[in-house]
């Protein structure tokens, strides 16, 4: 478990989980509890992906994000619910949300 903290007021605390092979892009760390800094706009998955790319992804970001969305084949769950039922990129993050990214692209 790693702790990435950026101290600012009115920030959002969420937990991120990477599995199914997606953790390979994050130093094999599956769970990251993060604090998203204060933002002029409400945090959405779309802005979260940008934040992940800039703050957590160490290498080969194209294996995780493509354009402004996740790479096709990576499933996203918002509090265990398929993000396709939650507005996908437009979903607004709330305090203590748990966002899970599961790669389906790895060997079965």
């Amino acid at each position: 478990m790693s702790k990435v903290t950026i101290s600012m007021a009115n920030s959002v605390n969420i937990s991120l989980e990477f599995s199914g092979g997606a953790e390979l892009l994050f130093d094999m760390v599956k769970r990251h509890d993060v604090t998203l800094p204060e933002n002029s706009q409400p945090w959405t998955i779309k802005s979260l992906l940008v934040w992940i790319r800039d703050n957590l992804l160490k290498e080969r970001p194209e294996l995780f994000v493509q354009g402004d969305t996740v790479r096709p084949g990576i499933l996203v769950l918002v509090n265990d619910v398929d993000w396709e039922l939650m507005g996908e990129l437009e979903y607004q993050l709330e305090e203590n949300d748990r966002i899970v990214f599961i790669s389906t692209l790895h060997g079965g």
Partner: protein, 456 residues
């Protein structure tokens, strides 16, 4: 505003890619399990009393498959005897870890487990092979060996069927690849839910219509224990591209996957019927089904054991020369009858350019390697199988390295003897595929009954 389940009042947790419907967790489980049951029963995959080997890699598909086979066998009283069957390629840091997952599955599902290793079957681990040959063509070895290994394991267990975790995405991917390669023979077979029925242990795909997304979601919601890491030796080219393409399509229109399978099924009945299929004979050395005098695995092994690892990779006629084989494989010979008594394992066979028939009375028993011993042992076990009336095959066409790699994909499909054998039986007839140099294997009509070469 939470969306509610299409079947009950609870909150929906998943949007189904196949239908677009939203389901809660419990309804999803019910539907998922019922659909696989439906696939199994409508295709009459099993008969009561059969022993079925579940090809288990420890990955998501085979883990969910093992869980479901156990569950459905109990729930619907299929009357099957289930066994987990794993192949240990000997890849440190990859297969050893995934085998640990399989061993946990064995305990969780209370199923017997059989592991067959490359070391035990062939005398080499993949680690040793890679040390010998480097990272080029290594997937060829792995793919060829794995296909056989699964069948050999299945034969040792005396099973009636093998089930693999190939899912709808895998099948669609294979359809695309076969179309792109113009591989009509494989295209015809690749959508079949059962392959290898003629003289082989049949392989079934209960997940043929099951989306990868649903398999992964099922595993996640059920908290199933699976292993997900790429093979450390894997490049990831051709299949990788097909996969990316398919996933891009799916993200635009999620029914694409099932539509492509449907297209593949339609193409398989509408393409020309006179595609030349190689005649299956048997390997003179190990007795497995092969369209060459020696099966791919035996030639690759010969190369390894003689320090000529390229032997099985390049031009087939060179390999044949080096192995002292005639250029006209007798593919009609009955199993085992081509074996030369006394010469099966002696070193005379390793002599370059020595024809097998040059040393008819050789009684030497110089071991080339432990492989020969293994071959003998396997030959024995094959003989037993024959006595029991069981059929067998080189698991042909089936699995590739779990790395999904291009290199391996192509080469495992073809490996050796490609041109002369795979491109049509009649050597006087130019191969329809007109393969160019460096394209060997990409348009092969296939010498093997099974199809999508994927990880199992």
């Amino acid at each position: 505003m939470p969306i509610s389940c299409g079947l009950c009042e609870k909150r929906a947790m998943l949007k189904r890619p196949k239908t677009g419907g939203a389901l809660c967790k419990e309804c999803f489980f019910t539907v998922f399990e019922a659909e696989v049951h439906q696939t199994i029963t409508s295709a009459s995959l099993f008969k009561r009393g059969e022993t079925v080997a579940i090809a288990a890699s420890g990955g998501k598909d085979s883990t969910v498959l093992a869980h479901l086979m156990k569950l459905l066998n109990h729930r619907h009283d299929y009357g099957l005897n289930l066994i987990l069957l794993s192949v240990d390629e000997g890849i440190t840091g990859y297969r050893d870890d995934s085998l640990e997952t399989v061993k946990r599955n064995q305990q969780q599902y209370e199923l017997p487990l059989k592991v067959v290793s490359y070391k035990e079957l062939y005398g080499w681990t993949m680690d040793e092979i890679v040390r010998q040959i480097g990272l080029k063509n290594n997937c060829t070895f792995c793919g060829v060996f794995r296909r056989q290994a699964l069948d050999r394991g299945a034969m040792m267990l005396g099973v009636n069927k093998i089930v693999t975790g190939h899912n709808a995405d895998d099948v669609a991917e294979t359809v695309i690849m076969n179309v792109l390669r113009g591989d009509i023979a494989r295209l015809q077979r690749c959508t079949a839910i059962v392959t290898g029925t003629e003289g082989a242990i049949p392989r079934c795909k209960p997940f043929k219509y099951t989306y990868e997304k649903e398999i992964v979601m099922y595993a996640y919601f059920k908290k199933l224990d699976y292993f997900s890491t790429e093979c450390i030796y894997s490049p990831n080219a051709y299949r990788g591209h097909a996969r990316t393409y398919l996933k891009d399509l799916e993200s635009i229109r999620s029914t694409s996957i099932i539509d492509i399978i449907h297209s593949g099924e339609c193409m398989s009945v509408s393409v020309k019927k006179d595609v030349k299929m190689p005649t299956q004979g048997t390997c003179a050395r190990c007795g497995y089904i092969s369209s060459n005098e020696l099966c791919k695995a035996c030639v690759l092994l010969e190369g390894l054991n003689k320090g000529l690892p390229k032997l099985g990779i390049g031009k087939p006629h060179k390999a044949r020369l080096a192995l002292g084989l005639t250029n006209t494989p007798d593919t009609t010979t009955a199993p085992g009858s081509q074996r030369k008594e006394g010469c099966q394992s002696c070193s005379c066979r390793s002599r370059p350019y020595a024809a097998v028939s040059d040393t008819p009375g050789c009684n030497k028993d110089n071991r080339l390697s432990s492989q020969s011993k293994e071959d003998n042992r396997l030959t024995d076990s094959i003989a037993k199988q024959e006595e029991l009336g069981a059929s067998y095959t080189v698991g042909a066409g089936g699995d590739s390295c779990s790395c999904n790699s291009d290199v391996q994909r192509e080469t495992s499909a073809s490996t050796i003897g490609v041109k002369s054998v795979l491109c049509g039986q009649d050597k006087n007839t130019p191969c329809a595929c007109r393969k160019g140099k460096g394209q060997v294997g990409t348009r092969v009509t296939g010498d093997s009954p099974a199809v999508p070469d994927l990880d199992f």
